[in-house]
Subunit: 493 residues, 4 copies
């Protein structure tokens, strides 16, 4: 009805900080994933495939979406980005005009309260040799210092995204494009998956520790790249392999070749992908997420059995683990908590007055199921503790006689520097409180966190499924890369 196009609410851009003053939706203080990427090489209708692929990755970023395509004939680069869900950003006409057999796409969560269209990816740049489209998942720890250096040399920036840094590094190099990209990637410290598209090439890179997931698939005679395998399944592509730490894949008229921009470092796949972020039907490093979560639940039951009447999971991410716990213990799994699937960005939050009256929008306890019952409540993590307290109380108000909380991860005590939006350390309840103190804070009858060993085994070690290492820094403070006080911990995308 309206042609009006807008970049939404005004942006504050001051000194070194943006601030949009947008209240975070913090009814449930969940961690937030920082983006999903999707790439196509050598398949007609690359934009439509990207649409469905990004849609499958929507849980990794609901705030903006974008697709850029290149036609292998003309080399012309086209793009479209917008704020909102994939289905809101693209319509039939738009998709049809994104012609070409090569594409990169992106879905994004904003961090630090920021949600700028200018930061929506793929970012598009014009430089000496043509056009550049870049899509990233993850975070570059040393981006602020590189950025300052570039600014001192006269660079101007148009986004707050760290991703802009890599484009400047490439543009300022005298080497050929692939070498320039390798040099640029070598300078970056962090956890990242990059898709970089030019008028004639597609480059795909994973950080030296393999922190962020990135898989390769095949469809027809072409290639697909995606943050998770669920996107391959959705478009009918066949899984080929995970992109390796430190690997740089180059795709162009000569086909696919693999290079390294750095030797692989210590393997450190993000544990939180298994625990919370990834879709249950995805596999990371060959391990199915739903199955891993069920094993976490079973392992929790072994490590910390409690006699109870019903097991319930906090939806959606803890349902698999709750079923595992129930299977292991024989306590029946029941639907003690239910989430309304229709909430979303445009929803009107209940006023304080209505909340106090008992209006519950996202999550409710099911009285008939929990009334008079001893309840085991499975959840994936405790961040600030406020959500857990709210849910425990909800169960009690619905009549639960006891609430035993079991968490499928060790205490979350340290911030993430690799692309997961975490609060400051002092806001992490586990950084300053003992388990018993947390139990009291969340009003639970008992509380248990899965052990590191239990987690490692559940993911795969004990199963011979995955023998690589995991990044457990948020639990044990052992970061796979250097980090320091001024390190940027917001994501680069």
């Amino acid at each position: 009805m309206s042609d009006a196009i807008s970049v939404g609410r005004p942006r504050l851009w001051t000194g070194n900080h943006y601030n949009e003053g947008i209240g975070r939706d913090d009814i449930f203080d969940k961690l937030r994933e920082e983006c999903g990427v999707f790439g196509v090489f050598g398949i007609p209708n690359a934009a439509s495939l990207s649409y469905y692929g990004l849609h499958a990755l929507q849980h990794r970023g609901e705030e903006s979406a974008g697709i850029s395509t290149v036609d292998s004939g003309s080399g012309r680069l086209v793009y479209h980005r917008g704020m909102g869900l994939v289905k809101e950003v693209f319509d039939q006409n738009t998709l049809e005009s994104l012609v070409g057999d090569r594409a990169i796409g992106h879905v994004r969560y904003s961090t630090s309260g920021e949600s700028r269209l200018a930061n929506a990816q793929p970012l598009i740049f014009k430089y000496r040799d043509g056009d550049l489209a870049v899509a990233t998942n993850g975070n570059i720890v040393n981006a602020p210092s590189i950025r300052r250096e570039l600014e001192r040399q006269g660079s101007i920036f148009q986004t707050t995204s760290d991703t802009e840094v890599i484009a400047h590094l490439i543009a300022r190099s005298d080497k050929d494009f692939v070498e320039a990209t390798k040099d640029a990637l070598q300078r970056l410290i962090g956890g990242f998956a990059f898709l970089i598209m030019t008028n004639d090439k597609l480059l795909v890179a994973s950080d030296p520790n393999g922190l962020r997931p990135l898989v390769m698939g095949r469809l027809g005679g072409g290639f697909i790249f995606a943050s998770e395998t669920c996107a391959l399944e959705t478009i009918g592509a066949e899984y080929e392999r995970d992109v390796q730490p430190g690997e740089l894949l180059v795709l162009d008229g000569d086909g696919l070749r693999t290079e390294r921009f750095e030797p692989a470092g210590r393997r450190a796949a993000c544990a939180m992908e298994y625990i919370y972020f990834a879709r249950p039907d995805s596999d990371i490093n060959g391990v199915n997420i739903h199955s891993a979560r069920k094993r976490m639940g079973r392992r929790l039951a072994i490590e910390s059995f409690v006699d109870a009447d019903v097991v319930t999971g906090v939806p959606d991410s803890s349902i698999s683990a709750a079923i595992g716990y129930a299977e292991q213990t024989g306590i029946p799994y029941e639907l003690g908590l239910i989430k309304n699937k229709y909430t979303g960005r445009t929803f009107i939050q209940p006023s304080q007055e209505l909340r106090e009256k008992g209006v519950k929008m996202k999550l409710s306890a099911v009285r008939k199921v929990v009334e008079g019952k001893r309840v085991v409540m499975i959840d994936d993590s405790i961040v600030r503790g406020t959500t857990s307290l709210r849910i425990v109380n909800m169960l009690r108000e619905a009549g639960a006689s006891e609430v035993h909380v079991r968490i499928t991860s060790p205490p979350f005590a340290n911030p993430c520097y690799y692309g997961i939006d975490t609060p400051d350390r002092r806001e992490l309840i586990a950084s300053s409180k003992t388990v018993e103190e947390i139990r009291k804070a969340i009003n639970a009858d008992s509380l248990y966190f899965l052990s590191e060993e239990g987690l490692i085994e559940a993911v795969g070690a004990g199963q011979g499924l995955y023998s690589g290492g995991m990044c457990l820094a948020c639990f044990n403070n052992d970061y796979p890369t250097p980090v320091n006080a001024e390190s940027d911990k917001s994501c680069s995308c």
Copy 2:
């Protein structure tokens, strides 16, 4: 951005039939629920409560939403309706201008391909004694003949909704409003829940067989009415009781009184509400839906055990039953099928070409879980059989070695006349095929439908939970009211 307000695409209105030519979303040929109603009497901010209450009933109707309020002081009736989800139709300003402590609200699925704003409820009429707002769930079987009679007497209609009929009947009566309403309700044959609001009264009625669910709750000093208890829970109201068959509740300045417009007939609560429609956290006639579904799954396991490696349910409605089946048999419950939660009306459907290539939008099988496995797949019903075939094939393509289908209801062989949108009898696969023929048609290794007795017991008979009768007409052709060849089987709302 735009002020433009539109009634959407053009309406065809010709002879006796409308046709909007809108393709039905038939990727999954599920039955469709026909509406949800919500009412408030004597509580401040009735519109906001209705917003959250309707939001909890959103699954009963996603195509339009509306709220009408009356202020008990001024008696002024205000309303707002729109196409779309509750959260799309209402914004903060709109809610705030719907002042008053009395409200009725509605969410609606359209039937017969129609989705007209003019049919969005509450319908609003002006008659001799003031204003009338009406919200309905269900269907009036004899509406066409009453409508013809009214047209012969010179009535004009502005909607295709059968609900308009009751307003005409009331307006043409010489009696006082409550008596006129009783007379009107007596003339109606069908299954229905009515909320009728005037400048000074709220009337609430349930059909003589109690076909459609309708519950009463209390909040503060006032009353809440809703199609399901989940709406009470969401706003923190206390469940009081189900509205009884043939009962007419009258609420006005003198408080609440109960009357009868007809003696209660044979109790016949809709079985499909338990099997498929209602939210798992709701209770109908005191029976929790999730628990009833788990019992259906357990009962299925008893009636038709099959040796297998995993049990999986077709999301979302069959998850509870699948867990029940797994608990009873000891076969592990796994996530063999997953549904994308982001699809919706604005989603671009994949082209035929992409669908053939394997693009799957709403539902995918999880290869890692089902590959090489014997799978028990639990579903709630088989309507045309096309969806079941598609899902069975999806599981096979993902590597399932065997697929055993277990259905939590008897064969669906007869159309519903009471508010559920069903295809013509000849499109119902169970109306013309044996179970073995259906098994072949859906490419399953085995197929079993829950027995009528099993269903009745699972809902509550055997548990002492609910001793009333159920309408099983769609399974056994035994309709609780007269129906005939010309009966209208689309819903009245």
Copy 3:
């Protein structure tokens, strides 16, 4: 981008009165026209022609627009209506789906602060014999009493539009459709132009005094009907004649025939159409509006010459008259006042603080043109006087040394009952003040109102252009129909 469709802000419907509480745009308290109608019979793409025809009539109503079509083959009636300008309500897809070679269309101003989609025309009804679409311009003086009578007989209403009354009268008649329509029209008192379309007929009627303009044109082998000739010109149709007072034109498979529903009464064409409402390029009763206005300006110059430096007109309606005044006097016409053409409904009005600072949005005086000059300011009418005062002051602040106001009509002292939205009599400045008092109130150096005789001659009497009578009731209180205290003076459309 969004599917959400809404009826806009909530409606208040209480007792006998609606109230949307929408502040009227009263920066300039101009009279407001009450609608435009457009009809097509027997021409392919009737909807597209209606789109362009209504667009040409947009000045007669900017708040809603609608088109209904019938295909002569199938007899199917289709419609689309929405709030906003013609170009906002219709898009290409919508127009294409409005198939047929017969159409009626409508643009509407709301009155009484009301702007309801439910009242947008064409109104569509379903009755015994099929479908009815009705579009009206004007007002039915006795609609309230007919409405009460119908309500007593059990009729229910869904709009506040008086137009609904005629549909009820037709539906309740036992006679055939054309006779029933004649009977219905006979009962109506007021000024109106009706287009009524059924599945097989188009009926066109003008009130017995010819108060509201309505012309007939020809295009190809078919017929066009429109409120003004500018709509004929826009679509390339040839003007045939004005529809006559009391005439009922019937168009169907047998072609066009003319009937009378009542003998023509005293001819009383609305004078304000000539003075203010109609587009300057239209002709009414054969008289071109721009030329008539120039003659009003010339006549004003003759009746009330004043020595001055520049003549300027209040845009847009008084430009023609100002040029006439300049031509007659030799005083140069200058652009002393300018109107911003981009203002409209969505414009943010300046705050009180900014208005006091001098922010002027719609109209500005041109300092360079008026500074130090004696200015003759031509305007069409003075309603409350507030606008005139503001404009005179604007000219003075821009440096005008004298401001002489000349009005192209007699003092507006009486409300209109025939479709023009006028304030209550006590708000009309001319109803209680003398010319000298008004002069003081608007801060003018001199003030003159055109005489009745001057107006009549300027319109055409003295030119032999138009010998029929005019309705001058708003000037001289001589109403061509009975009116009384309870008469409805808002428009029927």
Copy 4:
């Protein structure tokens, strides 16, 4: 209704050229203005003032609008930009969040078929010393070569706007901000008005020839800058003076000071601003536009009188001149042509078939006024000749017996390099045809172009109003700056 924000249709970005494939609205092949700028320094609610100021400049650019503000306290820079009219891009909330007492704003026409949100101004950059917001009107002739040089040095660009060039030049300089800006401005060749805002300064510059208009006003204790005086008038500001050629104004905490970045060159104010672009109520270099146009009309009458019955002007720009011609000759001015004020971007253009049938959307001839008459038609310029032909034919079809075309400018034979979007030279009808050939091409009975001397005098020379020079390059090929074959002639904004 929708949160979805989109950059609209996809962008083609390939090699050196963008192509959005958007059909230009070429029904009337008018020249298109290239932008308007507005600035505020030291006045509360700077954003609201900018809103009204830009609204007054809307005619200079209808495709995008933007405002950036800085709060003098915090130094924080905020902005909002969008596609569409000022009233479409901004709503109350957005305006309110643009806090601060300093602002720059912009309205923009796109050139070369491009209409990208990324190019909407003010452009915002982040560099070593903070933030930079830039708004421009005009064109930098040598931008392509500077851009290539910057790219060779490793700069990356995100827009196609030449304005980005100045930000790079400033960021790469080692000098302080004001000196760096002077250096950068010195390198630019072209016609431009710049507003540059940092966290603590506002800089205002006009090109050395004064090609593009830019005025300074005062309001309260602060300063206003605008492309035209009409924007001062609208917000109640007092005109102070025109910004001088080569002048750089610096406003900061120390107030206003004036500097020069280059000695003033030959004074060359754009003649087309007087003839066509500027609003009639604006003054440029002290000359009122409406009055100048009336003098052009009077001068045309002197240079080329023709005996006729009516004078008419092509709306809107030629009305003033037509009135001047009528005053000079005594031939009455009439409304022979009328423009529909409701057309706009969202309007559905008539199909070829309907156009051939005679559907006329934007402009119609008024039959009653021109039938049988000898018409003098005044227009401002002839670009390709297609529009003139269409209008002449329109007058003839409406019955004009003769059509004499008088143009208020000399033949337009050369492209503009200073910010006016002109077709290639070979498309300019006057570049290859004589006046007699053009007369035939546009089917006129006679044709006359105003002489250069006549134009100069009408603008002011003969009146002692303005003694500076004008740029007449589009008429006489005498460009005030070097231009060459590769010069960029699209605008920089």
